[in-house]
């Protein structure tokens, strides 16, 4: 009985969500550049899940650390096993709000600056961040792009001395998501 109730409550939530003008994607991309002049270290994750509420501005991202694809097998292995410890901390999250949600008109084509503020959790460390980005509305399609920097030290990600000159202490992160209505 309890289970049925929970299931029903879940369904209600689902419909409630539906009515609230939420947008989501399961195929967002997050890529990063962590290279230096000595070495290119780039990776891309193409199955980022993100959802936002166009009325309240609530905004969430989640991705799997294991989902980053590198050019070289060894880079991917070191990234997962040594730096990110992805077996212990398999996911990264962002949870926050679009601060200036009221100035974005989701029903009118255009490019709108958007500032997103909230908590970014990587490697089991949570930090408050504020990121400027752009919402692009074109023919009913909504996409969002942003670029920001992440300092490895902020998230307790340590890089051994041997490769210190090959990996930047500040990593450039690029976000690119195309949303569909839930």
């Amino acid at each position: 009985m309890k289970k049925i109730f929970i299931a029903l409550a879940g369904l209600c939530c689902f419909y409630f969500v539906h009515a609230q003008k939420k947008y989501y994607t399961k195929t967002g991309t997050v890529s990063f550049e962590a290279g230096t002049s000595v070495e290119d270290v780039n990776a891309i994750n193409k199955s980022v899940t993100s959802i936002f509420d166009a009325s309240s501005g609530q905004y969430e991202f989640a991705l799997l650390i294991n989902g980053f694809e590198f050019r070289r097998a060894l880079m991917q292995q070191h990234f997962n096993e040594d730096y990110m410890e992805s077996d212990k901390y398999p996911k990264a999250f962002f949870k926050g709000v679009i601060v200036n949600i009221s100035s974005i008109n989701f029903s009118k084509d255009g490019s709108y600056p958007g500032t997103v503020k909230g908590t970014l959790t990587i490697h089991n460390v949570s930090k408050e961040i504020e990121v400027p980005g752009t919402f692009i509305i074109h023919g009913g399609n909504i996409s969002a792009k942003a670029q920001f920097n992440v300092a490895l030290a902020d998230y307790n990600i340590s890089v051994p001395g041997l490769v210190k000159d090959k990996i930047s202490k500040i990593v450039k992160v690029f976000v690119d998501c195309s949303y569909t209505m839930l």
């Binding site: 399961k26 193409k46 199955s47 070289r72 077996d87």
Partner: protein, 142 residues
């Protein structure tokens, strides 16, 4: 006395060269092409969803980074040519859990003749679970 020394020196040189060569090989090695590998596990979409929903950690221990083949019904095909990105979402018996299959960029062409509702077998690397179970580096298995 001189001759064996020379031999040892030569042998050491060969070993060092081999070690350096192997180091370079490891360093520059590309990630394996999953299309060429055979699947370690074969599932239906429903069965892998059940396994993950019962115990995500245990499922990850077994299947993370393994090549899996999953048979399921296509609920959505997403092809974003601007980012050369091709994804299929398979449905499962749990409406809140799908299987997001991110394909090799060059495999986008093989999805063109597919449509929603088709049954396919997708091969890829199990990457874990967010809302959906995620497979990376996918291709259609014939």
């Amino acid at each position: 006395m001189k001759k064996p020394f020379k031999k040892i020196f030569f042998l050491a040189l060969v070993l060092v060269a081999a070690a350096i060569g192997y180091g370079f090989y490891l360093f520059y090695k590309k990630p394996p092409d999953i299309r060429q590998e055979s699947a370690s596990y074969t599932f239906t979409a429903d069965s892998i969803a059940t396994v993950y929903n019962q115990n995500e950690n245990e499922a990850n221990k077994k299947f993370l980074n393994q090549v899996v083949a999953i048979k399921g019904i296509i609920s959505k095909i997403i092809i974003d040519s601007s980012k050369s990105q091709a994804t299929i979402i398979l449905s499962t018996n749990d409406p809140l859990t799908g299987i997001t299959c991110s394909f090799y960029d060059s495999e986008a062409g093989s999805l063109k003749h597919l449509k929603q509702g088709d049954e396919v077998v997708v091969k890829g690397v199990c990457t874990g679970k967010l809302m959906d179970i995620v497979l990376n580096r996918c291709s259609i298995q014939h």
